[in-house]
């Protein structure tokens, strides 16, 4: 039949792709869109990877990055860390195999799962055809081994092809990778690579990064804190955060032999007593083998979870930067006039996922973004210490900050204030909105926490600005008296047609009082002048016949409010 001939030829036309092939065609899924953004993502993946490796090994990260310009939109990137290194056998798996990486655990971590590094190599290869060069120095037993390799990615087979290899005389552990890129741009813009490093340093004051930019200028971002962050522990999932499908997967992968032991071993806050309660409620035999669990049973169990009360999840899996450390980081990078930071207590969203909000606010100095010689306010978003650079619009952090009435804190024009706001979300499961992990879903609990934290900082800032202004104000006061009292008394004498009396004592009295106020001493209460407490509309009419000397009072009230700002 004719139809048959134009249909699909299954043997010929049906195809199976490797992950590398897939992402080769869909590199936007890895965040590689746009010339500036692509390079920033490369920096992000490599730095993140180095940080995670160093911290897991308890090493203070020290990273050397060099970006050399070869030609227009053509760069060589050399990235070197002092981490534990990668054993030779795993080097090409890390850099050439998509979906290969640290095993997924319910742990607070920075990186993606096995896509980051191999993605960078893929981009390099696609744009330049050049191989990757890696030197890895690692410990084997007590010995430090070193290897220098040159390899390409075999996209068709999702693995690496070794081109050259030689031993390398290792002195200390670490990895150095060199990649070439075309069709990317280095930019000082907010979304560029430099700003990415700057922000990274604020979120990671225990790290040190040396960066040589394409002009040869060397930036040293010094370490502000000498303590390796405590390594986060893996946290077992909390029953409230588990789905039936998750239970099925646990059952499949467990080494326990009974439902009961599987449940207690795979989840936090899950005691034998709880399992017994579930058994009673569901009628499921908890001594069955985990492999025999059915989806219906899993659903029934999850249904129980939703109805039961559990202790909040353990929070020792969450390691915040800490308000001290944030302060150090912000001081180091921003040299602000004033800085205040906060680390909130852990709370949960979506029933059972813990998170911690940390925030910092720097004012004055080099705070804020410099735009045309003027400093504007800037917001730095972080998740698990990693700067979020793109997709700010829909992010929980942006939403929370927008919802704050900054005027209440005396910031009348937030945009034009020299201010840097730092917000970091720490969680084992940050609810990212998009593939690129660049924005956090605005879960109500998260937004609320960010608001609380930020408003506390804003209140601190308000106090700072107020006390600064108040100091100035008070100094002005005693001068006022010295200037006005003599003039007024002379004029009053003229009015009363009397002589000018001796007034030094009265003058001393009032200036003394002003001085006392300046020193914060208590003075007798003044009967305050009563305000014109509401606008009176009387004399206005639609026709615009306003009797001039009467309605001008309106402006007076505004003015008086301003004067009274620090008095109330």
């Amino acid at each position: 039949m004719a139809e048959q001939q134009i249909g699909i030829d299954w043997d010929e036309d049906f195809d199976r792709l490797t992950p590398s092939q897939f992402f080769r065609k869909n590199k936007q899924m890895l965040g590689f869109t746009g010339k500036i953004r692509s390079l920033t993502i490369v920096f992000h993946e490599l730095i993140t990877n180095s940080f995670d490796a160093c911290e897991e090994a308890g090493i203070l990260p020290d990273i050397d990055i060099e970006l050399m310009r070869v030609d227009k939109e053509h760069y060589i990137l050399r990235h070197k860390d002092n981490g534990p290194g990668i054993p030779e056998d795993y080097v090409m798996q890390v850099y050439c195999m998509m979906f290969a990486g640290s095993k997924f655990r319910n742990i607070q971590s920075r990186g993606q799962q096995g896509l980051g590094c191999s993605g960078c190599v893929l981009l390099s290869q696609m744009t330049t055809g050049k191989p990757a060069k890696v030197i890895s120095c690692y410990k084997e037993g007590d010995e430090i081994k070193g290897v220098k390799m040159k390899f390409q990615m075999d996209v068709e087979n999702n693995r690496g092809i070794l081109m050259e290899r030689e031993d390398y005389p290792a002195e200390s552990t670490g990895v150095c990778i060199e990649l070439q890129f075309k069709d990317v741009s280095y930019s000082m813009a907010e979304q560029g690579a430099f700003e990415y490093i700057r922000r990274t340093m604020i979120g990671n004051p225990h790290a040190q990064i040396t960066f040589r930019d394409p002009t040869g200028h060397k930036y040293i971002f010094k370490r502000a804190a000498d303590i390796v962050p405590v390594q986060p522990k893996e946290v077992l999932p909390h029953p409230k955060g588990v789905s039936a499908d998750d239970l099925m997967t646990m059952a499949k992968n467990t080494d326990k032999r009974r439902y009961k032991s599987m449940l207690t071993a795979s989840m936090s806050r899950m005691s034998n007593k709880r399992v017994d309660e579930i058994a009673e409620m569901t009628g499921i035999d908890m001594n069955k083998r985990p492999k025999d669990i059915t989806f219906a049973e899993a659903e029934a169990i999850v249904h129980c979870f939703k109805k039961m009360k559990f202790m909040a999840p353990p929070t020792d899996g969450l390691i915040p930067i800490g308000s001290d450390q944030i302060e150090k980081g912000m001081k180091q990078i921003l040299q602000p006039e004033f800085v205040t930071t906060i680390t909130r207590k852990p709370v949960t969203y979506a029933g059972g996922v813990s998170f911690i909000i940390e925030a910092g606010l720097a004012y004055g100095g080099n705070s804020g973004r410099k735009v045309n010689e003027q400093r504007k306010s800037e917001i730095m978003r972080f998740a698990n210490r990693v700067p979020l650079t793109f997709d700010a619009g829909s992010c929980a952090i942006t939403e929370a900050l927008k919802s704050i009435d900054w005027k209440r804190y005396g910031l009348k024009d937030l945009d034009n204030t020299p201010l840097t706001l730092f917000v970091n979300i720490i969680s084992t499961q940050v609810p990212y909105l998009s593939t690129g992990k660049q924005s956090v879903s605005p879960e109500p609990e998260i937004v609320q926490e960010i608001r609380q934290a930020t408003m506390k900082l804003a209140r601190q800032l308000q106090k700072h600005i107020r006390s600064k202004r108040a100091a100035k104000e008070k100094e002005k006061r005693s001068k006022v008296f010295e200037e006005y009292v003599p003039v007024i008394i002379e004029e009053a004498a003229k009015l009363g047609e009397t002589g000018v009396p001796e007034y030094q004592e009265v003058l001393a009295k009032v200036t003394k009082r002003a001085l006392a106020e300046l020193l914060g001493e208590k003075v007798e209460e003044e009967v305050e002048e009563e305000e014109l407490d509401a606008i009176i509309m009387e004399e206005f009419d639609e026709m615009g016949y306003a009797v001039d000397e009467e309605h001008s009072n309106l402006n007076f009230e505004e003015e008086d409010d301003e004067e009274g700002e620090f008095e109330e």
Partner: protein, 364 residues
Amino acid sequence: MTEIKQEGKSHKELRKEYTFNKLKGLGQEIIEEIEKQQVPSIKVPSRGTGNIVYDDAKRYYVLGDRYGRRSLGNVKQIRKLGQMVYVANFCKDLVAREKTATIREMYYVSEGWGISFKNQQESNIVGEDLEVTLGTTREDLGLMPEEDGASVYGDITLLDDDVEINAAKAGKSGYTISPTIDQVEFLDCGVERVIAVETMGMFHRMVQENANERFNTLIVGLKGQAARATRRFIKRVNEELELPVYICNDGDPWGFHIAQVIISGSAKLAHVNHDLATPNAKFMGVTASDIINYDLPTDKLKDVDVMRLKELSKDPRYKSDFWQTEIKKMLKIGKKAEQQSFSKYGLEYVVDNYFPEKLEQLEN
């Protein structure tokens, strides 16, 4: 009605003396405090809404007994106290020389003072402070508003300095009430009543139709919201000449309130209402009932009109049954009408029919 009170002249002189002494007393008070080595502080009656009280007996707003202070020892108040003393000296000089000045002029004069004004608003406030503190009107102090008052047409003879003026013989636009109206004496008066109208259009219509003679009345063209001088004039003709006063405005909340401010004074000027309010004056129209009865051409009430009507209905000055009924009626029909809309029935209709009918109602 033709009998004129002759207390004017001495009244004028008394007022001058009284004001002068008040001003001088203010200076003396301050100096005495200093001599007692105390920190001087002037009590200024509060003009905030909380201190504006409707006086049911007087039928207008007065100030209550709350007050604020201007102390020499308070950093916020010392400038205002100083400015007040300077203004008092300026006014004392005006009163002594029998001159007047506008507040704008005072503002410019103040450039040379030890404590000058930051802006005109500040000088307005301090002027008003002095007014309430001393219990005198701004006109007594020699501080005049910029704008003239209403136009008056009809058989009244006034003495201004040494000039005699008859308001029926001062041109088609009549005699203009000047801000110094309190210095003017009423010499003679041949009318029996006063009709004040909101617009000059209506004023000229009445002049043209000889309304002053036909109704034996003064015609007052208010030009919208009545200036202080106009209100003072109306109060004086009402009290000194015992002439009944009728006010005819547009039939809308703004017209209502122009009349009401003449009758019951304004809240904003509670401290001088005893000189300005004419509680015996009567509102003639245009009422909501007039709109219905005369089937007048109308406009729809705008949102702002409705809002204003609702405000008025809660105002103590409108608590009479008459006003409550008329406001409700206007809200119900949702319409307003202008004075001039009687022209629908011909230019003369308002004078030939409306005024006689309304006067009949109001006077019997």
